[in-house]
Symmetry: D2
Amino acid sequence: MLPNNDIVTNVYTGKDGVFEGLQSGSILLDSSTVDPSVPTALEKIANSKGSFFLDTPVSGGVIAAQSGELTFMVGGDKQIFEKAQGVLSGMGKKLVHCGGIGMGQAAKICNNMLLGISMAGVAEAMNLGIRLGLDGKQLMDIINNSTGRCWSSEIYNPVPGLMPNVPSARDYEGGFYSGLIAKDLGLAQGLATRTGSPIPMGALASQIYRLMCKAGLEVRDFSSVYKFIQDGQKI
Amino acid sequence: MLPNNDIVTNVYTGKDGVFEGLQSGSILLDSSTVDPSVPTALEKIANSKGSFFLDTPVSGGVIAAQSGELTFMVGGDKQIFEKAQGVLSGMGKKLVHCGGIGMGQAAKICNNMLLGISMAGVAEAMNLGIRLGLDGKQLMDIINNSTGRCWSSEIYNPVPGLMPNVPSARDYEGGFYSGLIAKDLGLAQGLATRTGSPIPMGALASQIYRLMCKAGLEVRDFSSVYKFIQDGQKI
Amino acid sequence: MLPNNDIVTNVYTGKDGVFEGLQSGSILLDSSTVDPSVPTALEKIANSKGSFFLDTPVSGGVIAAQSGELTFMVGGDKQIFEKAQGVLSGMGKKLVHCGGIGMGQAAKICNNMLLGISMAGVAEAMNLGIRLGLDGKQLMDIINNSTGRCWSSEIYNPVPGLMPNVPSARDYEGGFYSGLIAKDLGLAQGLATRTGSPIPMGALASQIYRLMCKAGLEVRDFSSVYKFIQDGQKI
Amino acid sequence: MLPNNDIVTNVYTGKDGVFEGLQSGSILLDSSTVDPSVPTALEKIANSKGSFFLDTPVSGGVIAAQSGELTFMVGGDKQIFEKAQGVLSGMGKKLVHCGGIGMGQAAKICNNMLLGISMAGVAEAMNLGIRLGLDGKQLMDIINNSTGRCWSSEIYNPVPGLMPNVPSARDYEGGFYSGLIAKDLGLAQGLATRTGSPIPMGALASQIYRLMCKAGLEVRDFSSVYKFIQDGQKI
């Protein structure tokens, strides 16, 4: 799981990279989140060496990884996917074959775009409610029993003091960095532009996390969007 | 449950309205979604006539109303709330006292702002994924098992053909009209401006539903945002 | 020229306010930027006292005020407007009768919404270009000779070092505060919601300036949006 | 002047393309608006054949082209630029050397992003004002004498009936298509993502023009954004 297109490509194709000395018949599994064109290119090289490549990005975050409950979204040859299931199920409780090479990335990027939108939405709704005089815990409880409920509200609430063991409980240390979701939303932008798909909310969320990176929150958990809209301040 | 500030106010204070001939000691429960200033004003009048007023907006939509599983968000005097619980529980499975008069509205408006954001986000993510070649049903399944999951994706998916008995299964007839969520988001804007609370995602969602009203989707379910971003066309 | 609805209303109707002891036949000219409902209410009171009221907001900023080159946008009775021209022309080079009472505000708020949009747009375009390696002065020159040219680029460029005697030349001290354009954009939101007018760009600009207020730029010139998108940092 | 990256590349490098049989010592001038990486790659090939390449995108639209008053933004070797000035000045009144190869594109894309923002802003402000009861011609006049003034308002106003000889006067036929500015804004997104530059207004404008393409306005002038926000309807 590496952070961007160039680094992933280089790990395989660079000097002393994975492709050097690769044993024929190997199955390469890469769980980075990158543009679908990256695994597409790497699969071609792997095939030319008698090996195989699957893109296997995940969802669930650090918490699900620790408990072996990740969702793997897999792109590539279906038979190879079936062979890889044993390994993947060691960390994942749900393995989904999403289609040909790169389609795991497509699914991951769509999910993360929605995640970025939801988290910003939860932050705005919670902040507005609290400023109007509502109790944060109660508002969270109402939302979680209503039509606004979502993973960002139920499992990973961005408001400090409402939940234990989430980044908002520790000043947004650790977790899934703003800089990383900004990168994923940048990938979504690229795919949306290529396919002419309107993503107004996704585009704005992308800009919000990018602004957060400028405001000193790049290596804080992305739920620090709550902090950002409250006061824009650097941590 | 009436559609806007003026209509609600008029039903109580207008000629032959509720306040004319109101018996002393009555408890008035109003489940409309309106600006918190409306119940605040009506409570004053009710009190001056020896009666009581609670704002009791709901979440859950037509489906939850039919099954008696609404969430009631209640603002007003706590003792009066306790007296009203018997009546409210006939239609609701969760009754929450949110604070003084108007605070039920505050909670409802925050929830609905998040709902409007989430639904637009689901529509964008599903449309992008399908255009990239993913199977809609599979993408929905992935999202519902990942960090993007939310009520709009799990219970009320906007993509036609994925779920039975939701508005997207019947060309967005019935349900919760775009015009109504546009109104709720307009209320959210007003409260955010009054309190100086940033709501970038909420503000954009507000504009998207308003544009949908202009595009002929005002009296279609708000999940028709999927149709809107696909082709902007009038139904 | 006072900063908001409540303060303006209070100056006229409050204790020891303008309306106390107002001489019959007076013409009241108010150049604050407020919701059109404020002058509408004040005109009624003025008329009831045998006097007159015009809303006369201005455009041009501190620079135009100092040189007597403001634009006055006037709402109210046309005959009264004609009587007031002598006074107004002392500070304004252009006096426009925009219609009945409140219509000066309508025009002002529309202009300022566009101003807020343009300034943010100039800041983004200049910042992007400079990051791509363009020379700031040259990019400004190109824009000012092309289709992107606007007042914010030609007269009031937000990039430090390109122009003398503008707020960007003095670390955004003075000028037209971010907090004030945020207020004007809030008024625009209210009017747009009331009339169901889509203003996606205006709504987003409103949120950007509101975020800037949270980030410590409330009492800096609104062209500090350039600073905000660069690094979000507090001054 | 060709419409996208692939077409431009193909015209030079494809079968029977420009590079086949190119005379050594030629200077190639390309006025398409494309990603800066395109002229960068083409310059390399040209140099390898003993020739030269400049990217020379323009601003001004059909009107300026007809009158020979275009602005040319030129990227590439400065000495080659000087040799090309004679040819370029036949169509342009302003020739600007913006830097190395691709920098003409950078300048053009920044300008056009601002243009797309301004035009949407003018459309919103004019529509809001007219709905509030202002006279369109008068509002345009006020804006053009105030801080909201910009090329989109002064030269190319999007409201039908206010100006002769502009696309809004002929139901948005001809001019600069929504589909083309959507493409330019897509290029801006790509550059902003690559450099981590926040462009919230540019990102939203990009989505608005993309939505317009879906709504049937792709081959109408981009000032039809006025029509789009009014009623979202297909022409």
